[in-house]
Protein backbone atom coordinates (compact mmCIF):
# COMPACT_ATOMS: atom_id res chain seq x y z
CA UNK A 1 0.00 0.00 0.00
CA UNK A 2 1.40 3.35 -1.04
CA UNK A 3 0.29 6.55 0.59
CA UNK A 4 1.10 10.01 -0.66
CA UNK A 5 0.00 13.59 -0.26
CA UNK A 6 -1.24 15.21 -3.43
CA UNK A 7 -2.37 18.61 -2.24
CA UNK A 8 -2.14 20.51 0.94
CA UNK A 9 -3.93 23.60 2.10
CA UNK A 10 -4.43 25.46 5.35
CA UNK A 11 -7.76 23.89 6.17
CA UNK A 12 -7.84 20.55 4.35
CA UNK A 13 -5.61 17.80 3.28
CA UNK A 14 -6.28 15.36 0.48
CA UNK A 15 -4.91 11.97 1.27
CA UNK A 16 -4.85 9.34 -1.43
CA UNK A 17 -4.13 5.70 -1.11
CA UNK A 18 -3.27 3.13 -3.71
CA UNK A 19 -3.59 -0.57 -3.41
CA UNK A 20 -1.00 -2.10 -5.72
CA UNK A 21 -2.24 -5.64 -5.49
CA UNK A 22 -5.81 -4.75 -6.50
CA UNK A 23 -4.79 -1.67 -8.52
CA UNK A 24 -7.30 0.55 -6.68
CA UNK A 25 -6.92 4.27 -6.25
CA UNK A 26 -8.96 6.16 -3.64
CA UNK A 27 -8.84 9.61 -2.08
CA UNK A 28 -10.26 11.07 1.13
CA UNK A 29 -10.47 14.67 2.21
CA UNK A 30 -9.81 15.37 5.82
CA UNK A 31 -11.30 18.71 6.82
CA UNK A 32 -9.13 19.98 9.58
CA UNK A 33 -6.63 19.24 12.16
CA UNK A 34 -9.57 18.19 14.40
CA UNK A 35 -9.69 15.12 12.23
CA UNK A 36 -8.51 12.89 15.02
CA UNK A 37 -11.35 14.00 17.35
CA UNK A 38 -13.95 13.57 14.57
CA UNK A 39 -12.74 10.08 13.92
CA UNK A 40 -12.95 9.26 17.59
CA UNK A 41 -16.48 10.70 17.84
CA UNK A 42 -17.51 8.69 14.75
CA UNK A 43 -16.17 5.51 16.28
CA UNK A 44 -18.11 6.20 19.50
CA UNK A 45 -21.31 6.91 17.47
CA UNK A 46 -20.99 3.77 15.35
CA UNK A 47 -20.32 1.70 18.48
CA UNK A 48 -23.47 3.15 20.05
CA UNK A 49 -25.50 2.36 16.90
CA UNK A 50 -24.12 -1.18 16.84
CA UNK A 51 -25.14 -1.64 20.46
CA UNK A 52 -28.65 -0.39 19.69
CA UNK A 53 -28.91 -2.70 16.70
CA UNK A 54 -27.76 -5.66 18.77
CA UNK A 55 -30.30 -4.72 21.46
CA UNK A 56 -33.09 -4.51 18.90
CA UNK A 57 -32.10 -7.83 17.34
CA UNK A 58 -31.99 -9.40 20.80
CA UNK A 59 -35.51 -8.14 21.57
CA UNK A 60 -36.82 -9.45 18.23
CA UNK A 61 -35.16 -12.84 18.79
CA UNK A 62 -36.50 -13.00 22.36
CA UNK A 63 -40.05 -12.17 21.26
CA UNK A 64 -39.84 -14.72 18.41
CA UNK A 65 -38.59 -17.43 20.77
CA UNK A 66 -41.38 -16.71 23.28
CA UNK A 67 -43.97 -16.73 20.46
CA UNK A 68 -42.58 -20.05 19.16
CA UNK A 69 -42.68 -21.58 22.65
CA UNK A 70 -46.32 -20.50 23.11
CA UNK A 71 -47.22 -21.79 19.63
CA UNK A 72 -45.53 -25.12 20.34
CA UNK A 73 -47.31 -25.50 23.67
CA UNK A 74 -50.68 -24.63 22.12
CA UNK A 75 -50.14 -27.18 19.34
CA UNK A 76 -48.99 -29.92 21.73
CA UNK A 77 -51.73 -29.23 24.25
CA UNK A 78 -54.45 -29.01 21.62
CA UNK A 79 -57.69 -29.35 23.57
CA UNK A 80 -59.30 -32.70 23.08
CA UNK A 81 -62.67 -32.28 21.46
CA UNK A 82 -65.32 -34.54 22.89
CA UNK A 83 -68.87 -34.28 21.71
CA UNK A 84 -72.03 -36.27 21.26
CA UNK A 85 -72.34 -37.64 17.78
CA UNK A 86 -75.50 -38.62 15.96
CA UNK A 87 -73.43 -41.14 13.98
CA UNK A 88 -72.55 -42.97 17.21
CA UNK A 89 -76.13 -42.67 18.51
CA UNK A 90 -77.43 -44.16 15.25
CA UNK A 91 -74.93 -46.98 15.57
CA UNK A 92 -76.09 -47.78 19.11
CA UNK A 93 -79.74 -47.66 18.05
CA UNK A 94 -79.08 -50.12 15.22
CA UNK A 95 -76.85 -52.27 17.44
CA UNK A 96 -79.67 -52.81 19.95
CA UNK A 97 -82.03 -53.99 17.21
CA UNK A 98 -79.62 -56.64 15.92
CA UNK A 99 -81.08 -60.15 15.98
CA UNK A 100 -78.76 -62.51 17.84
CA UNK A 101 -78.43 -66.29 17.79
CA UNK A 102 -79.76 -66.47 21.35
CA UNK A 103 -83.27 -67.92 21.30
CA UNK A 104 -86.11 -67.73 23.74
CA UNK A 105 -89.33 -69.62 23.10
CA UNK A 106 -88.03 -70.68 19.67
CA UNK A 107 -87.57 -67.11 18.49
CA UNK A 108 -84.23 -65.27 18.34
CA UNK A 109 -83.77 -62.34 20.69
CA UNK A 110 -82.61 -58.87 19.81
CA UNK A 111 -79.39 -57.49 21.24
CA UNK A 112 -81.33 -55.31 23.70
CA UNK A 113 -83.11 -58.41 25.05
CA UNK A 114 -79.87 -60.39 25.32
CA UNK A 115 -78.24 -57.55 27.27
CA UNK A 116 -81.19 -57.53 29.67
CA UNK A 117 -80.99 -61.33 30.06
CA UNK A 118 -77.27 -61.06 30.83
CA UNK A 119 -77.83 -58.25 33.32
CA UNK A 120 -80.52 -60.27 35.06
CA UNK A 121 -78.37 -63.32 35.56
CA UNK A 122 -74.87 -63.95 34.22
CA UNK A 123 -75.47 -67.68 34.13
CA UNK A 124 -78.70 -67.41 32.20
CA UNK A 125 -78.89 -69.66 29.18
CA UNK A 126 -80.61 -69.12 25.87
CA UNK A 127 -83.11 -71.64 24.52
CA UNK A 128 -80.40 -73.28 22.43
CA UNK A 129 -78.06 -73.79 25.41
CA UNK A 130 -75.72 -70.84 24.85
CA UNK A 131 -74.98 -68.41 27.68
CA UNK A 132 -76.70 -65.06 27.12
CA UNK A 133 -73.58 -63.17 28.24
CA UNK A 134 -71.28 -65.06 25.90
CA UNK A 135 -73.67 -64.45 22.98
CA UNK A 136 -73.71 -60.77 23.91
CA UNK A 137 -69.91 -60.59 24.03
CA UNK A 138 -69.24 -62.49 20.81
CA UNK A 139 -71.91 -60.60 18.84
CA UNK A 140 -70.69 -57.26 20.17
CA UNK A 141 -67.14 -58.04 19.16
CA UNK A 142 -68.21 -59.13 15.67
CA UNK A 143 -70.35 -56.04 15.12
CA UNK A 144 -67.71 -53.63 16.40
CA UNK A 145 -64.94 -55.10 14.28
CA UNK A 146 -67.14 -55.04 11.16
CA UNK A 147 -68.61 -51.58 11.68
CA UNK A 148 -65.66 -49.71 13.14
CA UNK A 149 -62.47 -50.74 11.35
CA UNK A 150 -59.63 -48.81 12.96
CA UNK A 151 -55.90 -48.54 12.33
CA UNK A 152 -53.04 -46.24 11.47
CA UNK A 153 -54.23 -45.78 7.88
CA UNK A 154 -57.79 -45.15 8.96
CA UNK A 155 -59.32 -41.88 10.19
CA UNK A 156 -60.69 -43.91 13.10
CA UNK A 157 -57.89 -44.68 15.56
CA UNK A 158 -59.77 -46.71 18.13
CA UNK A 159 -62.84 -46.95 20.28
CA UNK A 160 -64.10 -47.59 23.81
CA UNK A 161 -67.27 -49.57 24.31
CA UNK A 162 -68.98 -50.27 27.62
CA UNK A 163 -72.18 -51.88 28.78
CA UNK A 164 -72.89 -51.06 32.44
CA UNK A 165 -75.75 -51.34 34.85
CA UNK A 166 -76.07 -47.90 36.39
CA UNK A 167 -78.21 -46.33 39.05
CA UNK A 168 -78.80 -42.70 39.90
CA UNK A 169 -78.53 -41.33 43.39
CA UNK A 170 -81.77 -39.43 43.93
CA UNK A 171 -80.36 -36.51 45.91
CA UNK A 172 -77.44 -35.58 43.70
CA UNK A 173 -78.37 -37.21 40.40
CA UNK A 174 -74.91 -38.75 40.33
CA UNK A 175 -74.48 -41.92 38.28
CA UNK A 176 -73.04 -44.98 39.99
CA UNK A 177 -71.91 -48.01 38.01
CA UNK A 178 -73.30 -51.07 39.75
CA UNK A 179 -72.09 -53.74 37.40
CA UNK A 180 -70.05 -53.84 34.22
CA UNK A 181 -71.44 -56.30 31.70
CA UNK A 182 -68.95 -55.65 28.89
CA UNK A 183 -66.00 -53.37 28.34
CA UNK A 184 -63.81 -53.13 25.28
CA UNK A 185 -61.03 -50.71 24.52
CA UNK A 186 -59.40 -51.09 21.11
CA UNK A 187 -56.73 -49.07 19.32
CA UNK A 188 -55.46 -45.68 20.41
CA UNK A 189 -57.91 -43.35 22.12
CA UNK A 190 -55.33 -40.76 23.14
CA UNK A 191 -56.23 -38.59 20.15
CA UNK A 192 -57.75 -35.22 19.37
CA UNK A 193 -61.39 -35.94 18.53
CA UNK A 194 -63.71 -38.20 20.46
CA UNK A 195 -67.20 -38.78 19.18
CA UNK A 196 -69.32 -40.24 21.89
CA UNK A 197 -72.80 -41.43 22.46
CA UNK A 198 -74.79 -43.50 24.87
CA UNK A 199 -78.21 -45.01 25.14
CA UNK A 200 -80.17 -46.30 28.09
CA UNK A 201 -82.25 -49.44 28.48
CA UNK A 202 -84.67 -49.58 31.39
CA UNK A 203 -83.81 -52.46 33.70
CA UNK A 204 -85.66 -53.12 36.96
CA UNK A 205 -85.08 -50.05 39.17
CA UNK A 206 -81.90 -49.11 37.32
CA UNK A 207 -80.75 -48.56 33.76
CA UNK A 208 -78.41 -50.34 31.44
CA UNK A 209 -76.11 -47.84 29.78
CA UNK A 210 -74.53 -48.71 26.43
CA UNK A 211 -71.74 -46.28 25.72
CA UNK A 212 -69.43 -45.87 22.75
CA UNK A 213 -66.57 -43.43 22.25
CA UNK A 214 -65.08 -43.41 18.76
CA UNK A 215 -61.62 -41.84 18.63
CA UNK A 216 -60.57 -39.97 15.50
CA UNK A 217 -57.36 -38.25 14.53
CA UNK A 218 -57.59 -34.49 14.05
Amino acid sequence: MEKRNIAKSKRSTRVCTRDRTLNLHSCKRSNSHFDFFNKKRNIVKSKCSQEEMIGFILIVVLVSVIALVFLGISIIRQPKQEYKSSEVSNFLGSFLQYTTTCESRYLPLSMADVIKECAENEAKECGNGELACSVMNSTTEGILSAALPYGNESYLKGYEFNIDVISRINDTGEIVIRKQLAGTKKGNCNVVIKKGGDTLLPFEDDDIRIMLNACYSG
Partner: protein
Protein backbone atom coordinates in the same frame (compact mmCIF):
# COMPACT_ATOMS: atom_id res chain seq x y z
CA UNK B 1 -26.37 28.48 17.17
CA UNK B 2 -24.31 25.64 15.78
CA UNK B 3 -24.91 23.67 18.93
CA UNK B 4 -28.67 24.18 18.70
CA UNK B 5 -28.75 22.88 15.16
CA UNK B 6 -26.79 19.85 16.26
CA UNK B 7 -29.23 19.19 19.12
CA UNK B 8 -32.23 19.65 16.76
CA UNK B 9 -30.72 17.20 14.28
CA UNK B 10 -30.14 14.69 17.05
CA UNK B 11 -33.72 15.08 18.29
CA UNK B 12 -35.07 14.63 14.78
CA UNK B 13 -33.05 11.47 14.49
CA UNK B 14 -34.42 10.21 17.79
CA UNK B 15 -38.00 11.03 16.76
CA UNK B 16 -37.43 9.21 13.47
CA UNK B 17 -36.01 6.25 15.33
CA UNK B 18 -39.00 6.18 17.66
CA UNK B 19 -41.42 6.47 14.74
CA UNK B 20 -39.77 3.51 13.05
CA UNK B 21 -39.89 1.55 16.28
CA UNK B 22 -43.60 2.31 16.80
CA UNK B 23 -44.29 1.30 13.20
CA UNK B 24 -42.39 -1.96 13.68
CA UNK B 25 -44.29 -2.74 16.89
CA UNK B 26 -47.59 -1.86 15.18
CA UNK B 27 -46.82 -4.14 12.22
CA UNK B 28 -45.76 -6.89 14.61
CA UNK B 29 -49.06 -6.69 16.51
CA UNK B 30 -51.04 -6.60 13.25
CA UNK B 31 -49.23 -9.74 12.05
CA UNK B 32 -49.83 -11.46 15.38
CA UNK B 33 -53.51 -10.46 15.20
CA UNK B 34 -53.85 -11.79 11.65
CA UNK B 35 -52.25 -15.07 12.76
CA UNK B 36 -54.63 -15.37 15.73
CA UNK B 37 -57.69 -14.56 13.60
CA UNK B 38 -56.70 -17.07 10.92
CA UNK B 39 -56.23 -19.81 13.54
CA UNK B 40 -59.60 -19.08 15.16
CA UNK B 41 -61.35 -18.90 11.76
CA UNK B 42 -59.88 -22.29 10.90
CA UNK B 43 -61.33 -23.71 14.13
CA UNK B 44 -64.68 -22.16 13.29
CA UNK B 45 -64.60 -23.66 9.80
CA UNK B 46 -63.91 -27.07 11.31
CA UNK B 47 -66.87 -26.68 13.65
CA UNK B 48 -69.12 -25.62 10.76
CA UNK B 49 -68.05 -28.68 8.73
CA UNK B 50 -68.76 -30.94 11.71
CA UNK B 51 -72.18 -29.42 12.28
CA UNK B 52 -73.03 -29.68 8.58
CA UNK B 53 -72.09 -33.34 8.70
CA UNK B 54 -74.20 -33.92 11.81
CA UNK B 55 -77.11 -32.19 10.07
CA UNK B 56 -76.68 -34.41 7.01
CA UNK B 57 -76.65 -37.53 9.20
CA UNK B 58 -79.87 -36.38 10.86
CA UNK B 59 -81.41 -35.87 7.40
CA UNK B 60 -80.40 -39.44 6.54
CA UNK B 61 -82.06 -40.69 9.73
CA UNK B 62 -85.23 -38.80 8.77
CA UNK B 63 -85.14 -40.34 5.31
CA UNK B 64 -84.76 -43.81 6.82
CA UNK B 65 -87.89 -43.24 8.89
CA UNK B 66 -90.06 -42.45 5.86
CA UNK B 67 -92.76 -44.94 4.87
CA UNK B 68 -90.86 -46.10 1.77
CA UNK B 69 -87.93 -47.41 3.82
CA UNK B 70 -88.91 -48.04 7.42
CA UNK B 71 -89.64 -51.41 8.95
CA UNK B 72 -91.79 -49.79 11.62
CA UNK B 73 -89.12 -48.98 14.15
CA UNK B 74 -86.70 -46.07 14.36
CA UNK B 75 -83.49 -46.35 12.30
CA UNK B 76 -84.72 -49.55 10.73
CA UNK B 77 -84.70 -50.27 7.01
CA UNK B 78 -87.02 -52.87 5.55
CA UNK B 79 -84.81 -54.97 3.28
CA UNK B 80 -87.86 -56.35 1.43
CA UNK B 81 -88.88 -52.79 0.54
CA UNK B 82 -85.34 -52.04 -0.59
CA UNK B 83 -85.44 -54.94 -3.03
CA UNK B 84 -88.72 -53.64 -4.45
CA UNK B 85 -87.33 -50.11 -4.68
CA UNK B 86 -84.07 -51.12 -6.30
CA UNK B 87 -85.79 -53.05 -9.05
CA UNK B 88 -87.65 -50.53 -11.14
CA UNK B 89 -89.32 -48.15 -8.68
CA UNK B 90 -86.66 -45.46 -8.96
CA UNK B 91 -88.56 -43.33 -11.48
CA UNK B 92 -91.66 -43.30 -9.28
CA UNK B 93 -89.94 -42.22 -6.08
CA UNK B 94 -87.01 -40.31 -7.54
CA UNK B 95 -88.58 -36.87 -7.10
CA UNK B 96 -89.42 -37.53 -3.47
CA UNK B 97 -85.83 -37.88 -2.42
CA UNK B 98 -83.75 -34.72 -2.78
CA UNK B 99 -80.55 -36.70 -3.17
CA UNK B 100 -78.32 -37.93 -5.98
CA UNK B 101 -77.79 -41.51 -4.85
CA UNK B 102 -78.95 -43.94 -2.15
CA UNK B 103 -77.01 -47.09 -1.46
CA UNK B 104 -77.38 -49.53 1.43
CA UNK B 105 -74.65 -51.93 2.53
CA UNK B 106 -74.97 -54.80 4.92
CA UNK B 107 -72.07 -54.74 7.38
CA UNK B 108 -72.72 -57.60 9.75
CA UNK B 109 -73.03 -60.55 9.47
CA UNK B 110 -70.93 -60.91 6.34
CA UNK B 111 -72.33 -63.01 3.51
CA UNK B 112 -70.10 -65.86 2.43
CA UNK B 113 -68.94 -64.14 -0.77
CA UNK B 114 -68.51 -60.70 0.84
CA UNK B 115 -64.91 -61.29 1.83
CA UNK B 116 -63.98 -61.54 -1.82
CA UNK B 117 -66.26 -58.97 -3.47
CA UNK B 118 -69.54 -57.12 -3.08
CA UNK B 119 -72.68 -59.00 -4.05
CA UNK B 120 -75.40 -56.74 -5.40
CA UNK B 121 -78.89 -57.45 -4.15
CA UNK B 122 -81.37 -58.43 -6.85
CA UNK B 123 -84.43 -60.65 -6.76
CA UNK B 124 -82.12 -63.55 -7.63
CA UNK B 125 -79.37 -62.97 -5.07
CA UNK B 126 -81.48 -61.70 -2.12
CA UNK B 127 -80.92 -62.30 0.82
CA UNK B 128 -77.41 -63.69 0.17
CA UNK B 129 -76.11 -60.30 -0.88
CA UNK B 130 -74.76 -57.17 0.72
CA UNK B 131 -75.29 -54.11 -1.49
CA UNK B 132 -78.64 -52.51 -2.37
CA UNK B 133 -78.47 -49.91 -5.15
CA UNK B 134 -81.69 -48.18 -4.22
CA UNK B 135 -81.59 -45.01 -6.26
CA UNK B 136 -79.27 -43.17 -8.58
CA UNK B 137 -79.87 -39.98 -10.51
CA UNK B 138 -77.24 -39.60 -13.20
CA UNK B 139 -78.51 -36.20 -14.29
CA UNK B 140 -77.44 -34.31 -11.17
CA UNK B 141 -73.99 -33.61 -9.87
CA UNK B 142 -73.04 -35.00 -6.48
CA UNK B 143 -71.56 -32.63 -3.91
CA UNK B 144 -70.63 -35.13 -1.23
CA UNK B 145 -71.74 -38.20 0.60
CA UNK B 146 -72.82 -39.06 4.09
CA UNK B 147 -73.53 -42.37 5.78
CA UNK B 148 -75.34 -43.60 8.84
CA UNK B 149 -75.69 -46.92 10.62
CA UNK B 150 -79.09 -48.57 10.39
CA UNK B 151 -80.74 -51.82 11.30
CA UNK B 152 -81.51 -53.80 8.17
CA UNK B 153 -84.53 -56.00 8.87
CA UNK B 154 -86.48 -58.54 6.90
CA UNK B 155 -89.26 -60.97 7.70
CA UNK B 156 -88.13 -64.53 8.42
CA UNK B 157 -90.19 -67.59 9.02
CA UNK B 158 -89.14 -70.10 11.61
CA UNK B 159 -91.29 -73.13 12.11
CA UNK B 160 -94.40 -71.15 11.30
CA UNK B 161 -93.45 -68.15 13.42
CA UNK B 162 -92.73 -64.94 11.55
CA UNK B 163 -90.25 -62.56 13.12
CA UNK B 164 -88.05 -59.60 12.16
CA UNK B 165 -84.47 -60.63 11.53
CA UNK B 166 -82.37 -57.52 11.89
CA UNK B 167 -78.77 -57.09 10.79
CA UNK B 168 -76.39 -54.16 10.88
CA UNK B 169 -76.29 -52.02 7.77
CA UNK B 170 -75.08 -48.66 6.57
CA UNK B 171 -77.00 -46.28 4.36
CA UNK B 172 -74.88 -44.08 2.09
CA UNK B 173 -76.40 -41.00 0.55
CA UNK B 174 -74.77 -38.78 -2.03
CA UNK B 175 -76.34 -35.34 -1.95
CA UNK B 176 -76.87 -33.01 -4.86
CA UNK B 177 -74.56 -30.14 -5.65
CA UNK B 178 -76.22 -26.73 -5.46
CA UNK B 179 -76.36 -25.28 -8.97
Amino acid sequence: MDNNIKIKKKSQLKIQQMAFMIMAVFIFFILAGIFFVSVSVQGMKRDVTRLEREKAITTVANLVDTAEFTCGKSLCLDADKLIALSSGMQEVFGDLWPVAEIKVRRLYPLVSMQNIEDVECTRLTYPECNVFDVYKNDEVKTAGAVSSFVALCRKENKEGFVYDKCELGQINIAYRAVE
